[in-house]
């Protein structure tokens, strides 16, 4: 699918994302500046990580109200694919495209380290090259990744199968120790009900080549490229 990457001032992971997308699809993604409002021709819109607008007020709060976000809303409403990683996930929840919020890590520390994600379902385009309950390695690099939603929202997410990934041990056990940022119910990523919008905190684009130390994230980009 044809991909575009939305860039806000302060975003700094757009090139890693572009490398991951291009490696799988053979086609460079379109780079979209936050003042643009036309996303026509794109099948997948990616909001990468970074510190948009300096994380002022709340992480993602300013970016979520930028001109391009109305176009992202329209793209999602048309059934287009959206992937938000790290600050991109924070922007999607601030924009109301995904429910909940991302709070300061429970430890109050910025966490820059490997984590493991358990795949909660594999019958989505994003996760189709993984197996259900498989664990893969990803890199977290965030200060505010502590997912929060009220119990009613969480029960709806679980009931509708919209939890994409949970923090787990390398063996796939969901434990408090593996839940490094303190996210409620160890949630690392969630989908919209149509399974076409995915937000997650860790960075699958950081591990897409053995030269990066692993290719655990590559199946996600291969699946998107092939869809």
């Amino acid at each position: 699918m044809k991909a575009g990457i939305v860039i806000f001032p302060g975003i700094n992971r757009e090139r890693d994302m572009a490398i991951a997308l291009a490696q799988s699809s053979g086609e460079a993604p379109r780079m979209v500046w936050h003042k643009e409002t036309d996303l026509s021709g794109l099948d997948l819109v990616v909001i990468p990580g970074g510190f948009s607008f300096g994380d002022y007020l709340r992480c993602g709060a300013m970016a979520a109200r930028s001109p391009v976000m109305q176009a992202v809303h329209d793209h999602a409403a048309r059934g287009g694919y959206v992937l938000g990683v790290c600050n991109g996930f924070q922007i999607l929840v601030e924009a109301g495209l995904l429910p909940g919020a991302l709070l300061r890590n429970a430890s109050l520390r910025f966490l820059s380290m490997d984590c493991h994600l358990r795949v909660e379902r594999s019958d989505t385009v994003f996760a189709s090259r993984y197996q259900r309950n498989q664990t893969f390695r990803a890199v977290m690099a965030h200060g505010d990744g502590n997912y929060f939603a009220d119990d009613a929202t969480l029960d709806r997410l679980e009931g509708e199968g919209l939890v994409a990934f949970r923090y787990a041990t390398p063996q796939g056990e969901v434990t408090p120790e593996a839940n490094l940022n303190g996210s409620v119910r160890s949630i690392a990523g969630i989908y919209t009900p149509n399974l076409r919008v995915l937000g997650l905190m860790p960075h699958p684009e950081d591990l897409v080549d053995p030269l990066m130390g692993g290719a655990d994230g590559k199946p996600l980009f291969d699946a998107l490229a092939a869809a």
Binding site: L57, R58, A61, R65, V93, E94, P99, G100, A101, L103, R104, N105, A106, S107, L108, N146, F148, A149, D150, G182
Partner: protein, 80 residues
């Protein structure tokens, strides 16, 4: 007219910053601090002079941007 918007995490939302402040106060020897909650104060200088309209405008700003009502509550106060 000046409007002051106070934004606080809702009850039940973990406030690790408040917890850290409480811990530091204990370290400094302050006793009897039972709980600490940390929030934000945002001051708005508004051209509006009618208090009701100023309050309504500030509340709208708080709902749309200044507070994330998923996790935060807010209150607006007006002076002069």
């Amino acid at each position: 007219m000046k409007a002051t918007v106070t934004v606080m995490l809702k009850a039940g939302v973990l406030d690790p910053q408040g917890k850290a402040i409480a811990h530091a106060l204990g370290t400094l020897g302050f006793k009897g601090v039972e709980d600490v909650r940390a929030g934000k104060v945002i001051e708005l200088e508004l051209a509006e002079t009618d208090p009701d309209r100023a309050r309504a405008a500030a509340e709208e700003m708080a709902r749309k941007l200044l507070a994330n009502t998923v996790i935060e509550s807010f209150r607006v106060s007006l002076d002069g």
